[in-house]
């Protein structure tokens, strides 16, 4: 049975994982829809990497199930549908960028040949470094090569564990563009990150993990809730809690009608960062 093209890319149901006495995941349920870009946030030790590793079959869950494209995670078919970039990874020092991609084309059974490699290297801004050895690459270059490696064979689901941790602002820009490109291709992405602003910009949906559980989930815009409107008048600023942008003309008109002089109005919204800190209770791992 081949999974239907519109089936969800990733489903985790009640996934638990314990390492000895440490509970890394305590029953996580999460979905990544077809073509959807989902950001996974959470403090250090929240279980983000563990969940990703279970999805690509590196780690076996203690309880629950994970399916990739309708197949149990970790099976050969499921692994054939994913591209993965680990949080900590290394390629053989003596290989060139192009050789790394050749190896992974063979392992992934990709018939993409030289044109696929050239395209992927160009996509991550490494076109000129095709024959540079890994040992001569900076950390950021290696991470970009890692991203290119994850894209070999055109995976349906991309699992990226902090793919921009070593990248400079320009490199992050490249990855942001790449996410847009993946969206047009219909590739599903699960992205682990600590960079809230980045996740907010590129992800369709965000799940916040804390101590092995999903504590908040939703679209970035919904997570950045309105918190009221602040109006500057002669006597200082007044806060209208619960008011939204739509309320501003009315409030200002009322104030002016009652003889107040209005100097400014500001719509307050909790940022994703505030929502995040609220959700994880300021935890830092």
């Amino acid at each position: 049975m081949t999974p239907s093209p519109d089936s969800v890319a990733l489903v985790a149901r009640g996934v638990g994982k314990t390492y000895g006495r440490t509970t890394a995941l305590g029953g996580v349920s999460l979905e990544v829809g077809h073509g959807e870009l989902v950001g996974l946030l959470g403090p250090n030790g929240a279980g983000k990497s563990t969940l990703t590793k279970i999805a690509c079959g590196l780690v076996r869950p203690t309880s629950g199930t994970v399916e990739v494209g309708g197949r149990p995670a970790g099976t050969r078919t499921a692994r054939g549908m994913i591209g993965y970039l680990a949080e900590l990874f290394r390629f053989p020092r003596w290989m060139t960028a192009d050789e790394v991609l050749v190896l992974h084309q063979r392992l992934a059974g990709s018939g993409g040949a030289a044109s696929e490699r050239a395209e992927l290297l160009a996509l991550v801004g490494l076109f000129a470094a095709a024959s540079t050895r890994v040992e001569a690459m900076s950390k950021g270059m290696q991470q970009r090569l890692g991203i290119a490696q994850a894209l070999v064979g055109g995976p349906r689901l991309l699992l990226l564990d902090e793919p921009t941790s070593a990248l400079d602002p320009a490199g992050r820009g490249i990855v942001r563009e790449l996410m847009g490109e993946l969206r047009t291709r219909g590739t599903s992405v699960l992205l682990n990150s600590h960079l809230l602003s980045e996740v907010e910009r590129v992800c369709d949906r965000v799940a916040i993990l804390n101590e092995g559980r999903v504590v908040t989930e939703g679209r970035p815009a919904d997570l950045s809730r309105p918190r009221g409107v602040e109006i500057e008048v002669d006597g200082g600023t007044r806060l209208y809690e619960g008011a939204t942008r739509e309320d501003v003309p009315r409030i200002v008109a009322e104030l002016v009608a009652s003889g107040e002089r209005v100097y400014g109005a500001r719509v307050l919204a909790s940022t994703l960062e505030e929502t995040y800190l609220e959700a994880v209770g300021g935890a830092t791992g």
Binding site: V59, R60, R90, P92
Partner: protein, 288 residues
């Protein structure tokens, strides 16, 4: 991709990687050094016994005596160097590479973990066995050229040594699933030493006519069959040499060898398969 295709990709990758390791150069230098010394030692040994005239050549043949003794030493060197090659080709293959982050990108590809382990063993086994055969052949050629002596059996001991080296590769691979590279290297060398000691114990037990010591040695030899294979090879070198020469060699420094039937060879093959299977099973259950 088919299992065989994936296995070939992994074997190719492993071989290219091992050629990059500096140890490979060290092994090459050691090998050349050993062969040079061996040639020199063989030359002097044969020259010195030439002056020795035995009462009856049928009772003690100095040439056979010298040849078997020096070639026995060469066989030990082949076992040792071959085992070094086998161990370094399997060093850090599982846990070491996983700790370095090298293994994960490969394991998530649609190839079986068992395929990865068995392909890496196959690569290490082929290279280290070929290495042992080449060095054995060179030592044989040197002995024949310098001393004009060849052993009674040539092929059996060579294959025995090659198989011995393959069992060491399997043991080392098994250890790599559980230990990081340094610990693995140390542990496998200790196991290697234990195997040799067990062989020695068995001989001493036989010489002293101590049944229990002999038994302990024998059991250990079967648990670590590389020493038994080496001993059998030594035994075969002079198995057709008669008279006092044969007797003297049996008791010589390395000649206290025990013969072994085809059972030992079959056991060593089964042993390799069992150990490799155990490694594959343990790896397939491991979190990375």
């Amino acid at each position: 991709m088919t299992g065989a295709g994936a296995a070939l990709v992994i074997v190719g990758y492993a071989l290219r990687e091992s050629l990059r390791r500096r140890v490979f150069l060290v092994v090459l230098v050691l090998t050349v050094g050993f062969l040079a010394l061996y040639g020199l030692g063989t030359y002097f040994a044969f020259r010195d016994v030439e002056s020795f005239v035995p009462p009856d050549k049928n009772i003690l043949d100095p040439k056979a005596f010298t040849g078997a003794t020096v070639f026995g030493l060469a066989m030990f060197a082949v076992l040792f160097l071959g085992s070094v090659v086998a161990i370094f080709l399997t060093l850090g293959v599982v846990r070491g590479d996983a700790e370095a982050g090298l293994l994960q990108p490969i394991v998530v590809r649609p190839i079986g973990r068992r395929t990865i382990v068995l392909a890496r063993l196959a690569g290490a086994a082929v290279v280290s066995a070929a290495y042992a055969l080449v060095v054995y052949g060179l030592a044989l050629a040197i002995t024949a050229a310098v001393g004009g002596w060849t052993p009674d059996h040539v092929v059996g001991p060579a294959l025995g040594l090659a198989l011995a080296v393959v069992t060491v590769a399997a043991i080392s691979l098994f250890a790599s699933v559980f230990m990081s590279a340094t610990a693995q290297g140390i542990a496998v060398f200790m196991v290697f030493g234990t195997g040799l000691t067990a062989g020695l114990l068995s001989q001493i037990g036989r010489a002293l006519d101590s049944g229990s010591l002999h038994t302990i040695g024998r059991v250990a030899t079967w648990l670590l069959p590389f020493d038994g294979l080496y001993q059998a090879g030594l035994h075969a070198l002079i198995s057709s040499t008669g008279g006092l020469t044969g007797v003297a060699l049996q008791l010589g420094p390395f000649g206290g060898a025990e013969g072994a039937g085809p059972l030992l060879v079959l056991w060593a093959i089964a042993y390799t398969a069992l150990v490799a299977g155990g490694a594959a099973l343990a790896f397939s259950r491991r979190d990375l």
